[in-house]
Symmetry: C3
């Protein structure tokens, strides 16, 4: 169905051009070929995924194939993979006419991003100085998915307002910035952040918000009719919400220590998220007439507890500690949707389509603070001597670090992620403002029509609403009868 | 869209008040705070999720982190988790206008229920008498999810007819009753029920049916227009069906013995469910004109085989035995939808929205019987000496129990679950009848409008049906032409 | 809603009879009973799922339950299971009015097929000559799911044009043919094909295409109105696409060697699929006006890289090699939808509803070729001495086989799969042409109305479109006003 009329005339009279028939294929082809070349030069299988493994495992005190890292991490990896593609993808299908863009562009940029992340993270974290190669295994794949998550969070802020080419550019720079801030936070500062409260959520959140701030559209109200949801698009979005919610324990435990580390991270995240659901429902109900619930809150704020436990999930926060974190995050995140998002839009001119400030940025900062406090409060009596060393990796250069110092570095790490998010987003936003990326006009935002061949719904409607058409026919006939009766009256008269 | 007119007037003239703006937030906040306090007092990490693990594992003959119970159970746990939230949740989206309530309230009560279950099950099963603490690990999380499943089954019977506050009350008591009957069945009677045919499905089924019986609504036909499905809501429900069906092998094997126990439970459940699909299709086709299939049967009865293997899946029922159980369950469950559900509603005044009698109660009872028979028929020649001891846990106080005695206790266990279900449901139903819980009037049942802010679909329809509007305009113009032609005729005449 | 009028009259005047009230139940019952009897005679638990395991494991150098094959394969198995039922099922919901048939018949035939596959594959691959029994474990279940996948692929070609009885017959023969060709390729030729590029995708693709060719319907355009998608059916199909895409690494690694074999297969498939997404998007965008994307390509062609790595994923193709395979598959598969499918339909009279030629047949052949080349190019320097033996299983009778010979046998294997697919499909297609299976008339294809009790949407539409009805009423009133004004004019006149 052509989306024409007044809107179309307005659109054609503006300098916006959403034709991406040249730019999108070129970017996809060139970047993918670059990936192939760079992978050829740099990326190799690591020891545990190389066929040589059989001969080398004896050296590693490995007695059985089951101790291959693959079996410790693969179930978590697959859960994370589902979160990236189905979780983030379907969470963004809530708009009435942007479901294709939500799930489809998510698919595209994640697929590019994970390749680029393997390279960027490899160069910064695991480049072998002797061979000049990056050796990848299952943990690398998880980290690549994590890195992509940061960019998908940012996508949430600009959902419906940018072209797929802009999204790819945003992902290219996002992954690059991510790898650098991650290197600073995890390697230089030696902060712990297994579930990425700081590295993923705080960075991704502020990165997206800063981009959205630069790309501010004062006339966005022109596409107001497209900004809502419909009944079934909200149901689709619940698929995303639930897969994110259910698999968040895997997210926060995917790269923590084998054994008790992964075990504990799962318990904490499971509990924190459960607690968040109840307080989200409470605040949502309080805020509406008759105590009705708002799907926006249920779809998003219920996840805040998982974000906020991203740093501390592997620590000994104890089960009730996890519940407390979840408790407050549900409240704060829902309050954010009610009060902070409108404020951001009106006062700070930040248009945040999915409310990532409430779901990722704020809970991420809370997570960083919780991490810093719980790290500073760690003790040998709670963790055990070896447990403390394992949990905070007090080995090598960091052998003599105290938990208090660790707490300080955790806090420093959080600042780094905010700075990289805001600074990086502002710069990348400026690049995205160039008039070459095929972004839509204000009145065409949130509309799949711009970038997708849509099915011809006319025919469907003809199929499914014969009663109406029949009714219309009925009207016509009735009218004709009336008209004829006029004639007859006239005839009688004449 | 306001759902007004005759229904609204009727509604306002009745004493029903669905305003839950006070009750829902209060219940959520108070209960969640209570959870935090109780968790603080009672719940701690168990040895395998505590950072001390490294120092203690040497005492447990554990040689590697991979032998942490986490790696035996985590993949199954995540599958069970998906069943609870996506499986049960989406299965209940089939109603045309209760998808938000189906998946959303499921989300809410499961999130509360699992916390309360950790406490209740902990007090009954694993309270350390010395420290007064409950130590939780991955198996506790699975058991909490199982416990919640019982309450979600009960939700199926009252779907669309109760308020979220009532559901939370139902879950509070349901989990409490569950923990007690589970303690009697598994600990005192020492019955085996790894997949919960008795403990979960029979109890949950009768609990829900008894509540629905107490809450009987003689005028429920007033909301008849809302009781059906639409094409896409049925498709959403298939997401629930399939995730339940696919992951049922994980459900029945999640807490069985390591090694062959889990392995066998998976094989049996996989086969039983496959068999059920064929007989469900057969009966469904037989029952309809031209052999057409009914989505209600496909969505529900195909799962009956998994329910009925909840007890016996870990036994040596042999592959063809599993097929036979599935075979009859498909027939009985589909017959239930065709004949027993209408009978229950008309004669016994039990209104069972999702037909949980056919999907959980009856197959659960069958499962209990199959379990008792196969336990009584177990022999050392089939199980091996050690296998028999492992499978039925003939250790400690039960060292000298014979398989025949075991069969008797299995049967006794089933009776306990029925008694707890019916008795508990009758009492809880009476509590839910109090006029303070915000339940909907008869004519407003099955309508998300009562408890959810719904998206404004008018606008969407304006968007998506221009052809009709144009057609209407066309009619108007045509009529005007007709009218004008009358004028002209008249003009000619005059 | 009755789908009547001209179509109905036409339908009743033709010899087609879609009444399957006798045939479907009979086939389901008889075949399921046959399964029970054959399972009773032949199928037993294998050592690792039998309760005797405890007593025998000492003999197998197994030191812990965690080395039960179950823990190596169960996570992958569950992912494959999701691909079969949700992946294939929802991928086929894209048609506007065939979602029930897409996901429902997929459910039915997969449930039958996996039972028959356990028998057929058991007889050919693992019948114990001494006891005459087939011993099954987790790997058997994976192989049964794989075998079913071949038939579900074939279903894609005839989607919407056959009856469920025809589908069951197609599955019966499909599984049988599959087991034979698999035996020839894997056991006699000793080709490697862990992810089934040849055995599953090439065979399944050509099997379906040959059947569709025999069942050619020259007047299929009569149901043209039903052949498209609608907005939400396309969104449902993305659920299928994404679960297939995400879990494909599990598919290709599910039965590869423990340890590095599974690990490497996951990495290769993960990378290949990522690469495919970018080139699919590029070609799709190039092919449309304004660079818009086509959902058909995104739903299907993005998966081609996984198909093409089915053989080589476990080999040392190296990460960039996987990217290259994915790169070309995305291009070729999307080109297939644009150019080859129309050609097949017009010139070769092959109607391929889902385009399985582009998603399975062609990429499967590419996968076979890639496998043959990479096998022939394998070397001890890359694989290590033991790695080469493990990867290609150069043991027993094949101890002295060289990699070059292996490459030749790989190529031979691919030819076998094509021959079995085309030959078998032609024969089975002829059987399916018999006028006894209840297939729909040309004008009733792609319509769930034929085989499903559909929800009564009229009521829903009445519910959801009052604005229109009100508008119609408005029109009537306006017209009456006009008419009355005519009267009044006349009255004035007279």
């Amino acid at each position: 169905m052509e989306n024409c009329g007044q809107g179309c005339q307005d659109y054609t009279s503006r300098p916006k051009n959403t034709n991406i028939r040249l730019s999108l294929p070129v970017v996809c082809f060139v970047w993918q070929i670059a990936m192939i070349i760079l992978f050829g030069v740099f990326i190799r299988y690591d020891e545990e995924s190389d066929a040589h493994w059989v001969e080398t495992k004896a050296h590693d005190n490995i007695t059985s194939d089951i101790e291959n890292d693959f079996y410790f991490r693969y179930p978590s990896f697959q859960d994370v993979h589902v979160m990236i593609f189905v979780g983030f993808g379907f969470l963004m299908t809530f708009l009435k006419r942007y479901s294709f863009g939500g799930v489809g562009f998510n698919f595209l940029i994640a697929s590019f991003g994970l390749q680029w992340a393997l390279l960027m993270q490899g160069w910064f974290h695991s480049l072998d100085p002797q061979t000049g190669k990056i050796y990848i295994g299952i943990e690398s794949l998880i980290n690549a998915d994590f890195c992509v998550a940061g960019c998908l969070i940012a996508y949430g802020a600009v959902l419906g307002k940018v072209s797929p080419v802009q999204l790819l550019v945003m992902t290219l720079f996002g992954v690059t910035l991510f790898a650098v801030e991650e290197y600073i936070i995890l390697n230089l500062l030696h902060a712990r952040d297994a579930g990425g409260s700081m590295v993923i959520h705080t960075f991704g959140g502020y990165y997206g918000l800063a981009i959205s701030w630069v790309l501010y559209r004062p006339n966005l109200h022109q596409s107001k009719r497209m900004q809502g949801s419909v009944y079934h698009s909200d149901t689709f979005a619940m698929i995303g919400t639930l897969f994110l919610w259910m698999f968040w324990p895997s997210f926060n435990s995917a790269i923590t220590d084998h054994g008790d580390g992964q075990h504990r991270a799962v318990i904490n995240t499971y509990l924190g998220l459960a607690s968040t659901v109840l307080t989200t429902v409470a605040i949502s109900s309080l805020s509406q007439k008759n105590g009705k619930l708002d799907m926006v809150h249920i779809q998003n704020s219920t996840l805040a507890g998982g974000v906020a436990l991203g740093t501390a999930a592997e620590f000994m926060v104890s089960p009730y500690g996890a519940l407390i974190v979840g408790f407050f995050c549900g409240i704060i995140s829902t309050m954010g949707y009610l009060f902070i998002s409108p404020f951001l839009e009106k006062t700070l001119k930040i248009q945040d389509t999915c409310g990532i400030h409430n779901l990722h940025a704020m809970p991420g900062v809370i997570g960083g603070i919780v991490g810093a406090i719980t790290a500073a409060a760690a003790s040998e009596s709670v963790y055990g001597k070896q447990g403390l060393i394992n949990t905070f990796d007090f080995t090598g250069d960091f052998k003599n670090r105290t938990v208090l110092t660790q707490g300080g570095y955790q806090a420093a790490g959080m600042c780094v992620s905010i700075v990289f998010g805001i600074g990086g987003g502002a710069i990348v936003g400026s690049i995205l403002k160039l008039p070459i990326w095929g972004d839509p006009a204000d009145e065409n935002c949130f509309d799949d029509e711009m970038y997708w061949e849509l099915p011809d719904e006319d025919e469907e409607h003809q199929e499914s609403i014969p009663p109406i058409l029949e009714y219309n026919n009925h009207i016509i006939h009735k009218q004709q009868d009336l008209a004829e009766s006029n004639f007859s009256v006239e005839n009688c008269e004449s």
